[in-house]
Symmetry: C2
Subunit: 368 residues, 2 copies
């Protein structure tokens, strides 16, 4: 009888936080205390304009004495900038997005910008986030991950003078950082072909529910690599499955049930690939002997599981996107780049030559 995760609430004497005690000191209080004008205090704060050393010292003493802290809200108004950057990101939990966020965070850490997150779980959120972002001018710029704003949204961004950079999505009017998914998929498939495989299946996931256009490009790349090699494309070798290990698992099961099961699978995400490995083990297949598997993304555990996969430079993408945006903010104009990263094949233990018969046809390393 499993104990439920009950939560024990320990009551304590009610901790009222002082509802309206100490009023914060304002710039005028400091000015009075130091016997100077508010302009002088402001100058001391910003450091832009010259202030006599003696005066500066008096003002600083007053600030310290009063525990003065400038209010960002008040600064934001005349400065016309919030010193925050908004990130619009779908499906917070997926490794890919977390990694991108991490990269963004790294780039922003050095700057003075705060990070405001808009998480999108459903398509409806998407528009709400854009609304809020654009309307409220809560941030000075936006990073949009894996989401393509529609033209009216791009228009409002522009008319509001709100610079935005797309990461893993594209729009002609906005700078973007992307991965050549199509080429990556082709490379992954070519690797399997070079290993001698002719029966190569694809297990991919549906596009994210919030991403309106499907630009994944994995299927096109896969097909192209096949056709290059003169391998006929087979509809029954292309499986769409959930973006979960279980999805991959059922995906592979259905492939193994075919009259002529594949000897290799290219899986559109490592998350699914983990399930593929599990299903293979469960079916008694030896990897890579009986089945070769290539994943996609290079998730943290992939290295550990020994999964051969296409490494997508997720963190770098975030970093680069943030840098682009910071530049734009600084310069007042876009760096007009569309930066395209290439995924890199990482060979590990889950793929090898097609069978023991022709093991001389290729070796596991030095292939690229």
């Amino acid at each position: 009888m499993a104990r439920k995760q009950e939560e024990a609430v320990q009551q304590e004497p009610a901790t009222r936080w002082p509802v309206s005690t100490a009023k914060r000191a304002t710039i005028r209080d400091v000015a009075r205390e130091a016997g100077v004008g508010i302009g002088t205090v402001s100058r001391v704060l910003s450091g832009h304009a010259p202030v006599a050393p003696a005066t500066r010292a008096r003002v600083e003493a007053a600030m310290r004495k009063l525990g003065y802290r400038p209010s960002r809200a008040a600064q934001a108004l005349p400065r016309r900038r919030t010193n925050a950057i908004a990130v619009v990101v779908p499906l917070f939990t997926r490794y890919f997005y977390v990694e991108v966020l991490r990269g963004i965070e790294q780039a922003l850490a050095a700057s003075a910008y705060a990070l405001v997150i808009y998480s999108i779980e459903r398509a409806a959120d998407r528009d709400r986030a854009f609304e809020d972002l654009v309307e409220s001018r809560r941030a000075d710029g936006a990073l949009v991950v894996s989401l393509t704003p529609d033209s009216s949204q791009v228009e409002s961004l522009q008319s509001l003078n709100l610079p935005a950079v797309l990461i893993d999505s594209a729009h002609p009017a906005l700078p973007s950082v992307l991965v050549d998914h199509e080429r990556a998929a082709a490379d992954a498939t070519r690797h399997l072909i070079r290993l001698g495989h002719r029966h190569i299946a694809l297990i991919d996931h549906q596009e994210d529910p919030v991403r309106l256009e499907s630009t994944s490009g994995r299927a096109p790349g896969y097909r192209q690599a096949l056709s290059e090699a003169g391998i006929p494309w087979r509809a029954d070798y292309e499986v769409i499955a959930d973006f979960t290990p279980e999805g991959g698992q059922t995906g592979l099961r259905s492939l193994l049930a075919l009259p002529e099961p594949p000897t290799a699978v290219f899986v559109g995400s490592d998350t699914q690939a983990l399930g593929v490995l599990e299903a293979a083990r469960e079916a008694g297949l030896r990897i890579p002997g009986d089945l070769a598997v290539v994943g996609y993304n290079d998730v943290e555990v992939a290295r550990y599981v020994g999964l051969t996969t296409m490494r997508v430079p997720m963190r770098e993408m975030g970093r680069r996107g943030a840098e682009l945006l910071l530049n734009a903010l600084e310069q007042g104009q876009y760096d007009p780049a569309h930066i395209c990263f290439q995924a890199e094949l990482v060979v590990r233990r889950t793929c090898g030559p097609v069978s023991r018969r022709n093991d001389s046809s290729a070796r596991q390393d030095g292939l690229q």
Copy 2:
């Protein structure tokens, strides 16, 4: 010759974003357009005070015509609130923190609050974040994850009237949401004891670099369970390793090198437990036959790998913490709770009875 992940930059005609074109319409513009006073426009916006239907319609028409959007920055000043909540979170990449964030996000999605993230990677960041948070009043409240503010920080939070809730850490003056790590560790160890194990090791990680006090509680719980069962504690069975799969791997290797290696390991994190499983496989140990493993957290892949582990309700913790904070903001006073969640043992495939000799002593399910 592996192709490096080069980035191809495609130049495009410089996309200058209009530097200072359309000035945003202000509330005064709307008032003029609609032929009313600014007060009336404000009333229409807020909906608080009564406005004659005809007037409201005129104002709304004017707003639409001018594309008017109220500025949050301007609203924040007189309202004395920013409608944002700050989350101070260490080590963004760890699954635990991402899950907590996810829970927070869920709770906040319904509210009108934006989410501002302060990510802490080094101890120095911690104070900087608090400084910024407190000083600048960028948010109306704060959620602090796994970090214990020092007393001066708590003081400034209180003197500034900034409500804060701690998640996975505690302070007498602040509400908190935590897990009973000690009990959880004891439960995990007891489970192994009940399976008949007497040689039980602990592999744990150092405290997070940014968390000053070490309140993990895993070692104490482990030791307590041992002593309850009359099993002598052995220094060589307690290993501290990096918070990575590799850490777990080397941890287990060192345990296996002992003259009397353990038959079971309780690992302080699933991340490390994955490495433990790998090291066991590599050493030719059968799991759970030769080695029983219990992890900690119930990371996403744990289920999939079949890892028996203590489930920590990470998302719930985030959600609950955010709710506490939202309540505090709404009511102007703290819900004075210290909420304590219990971790739950999730039995999967990585632990079983001590050896084949006494396999009748316990069964894998129905143990709790």
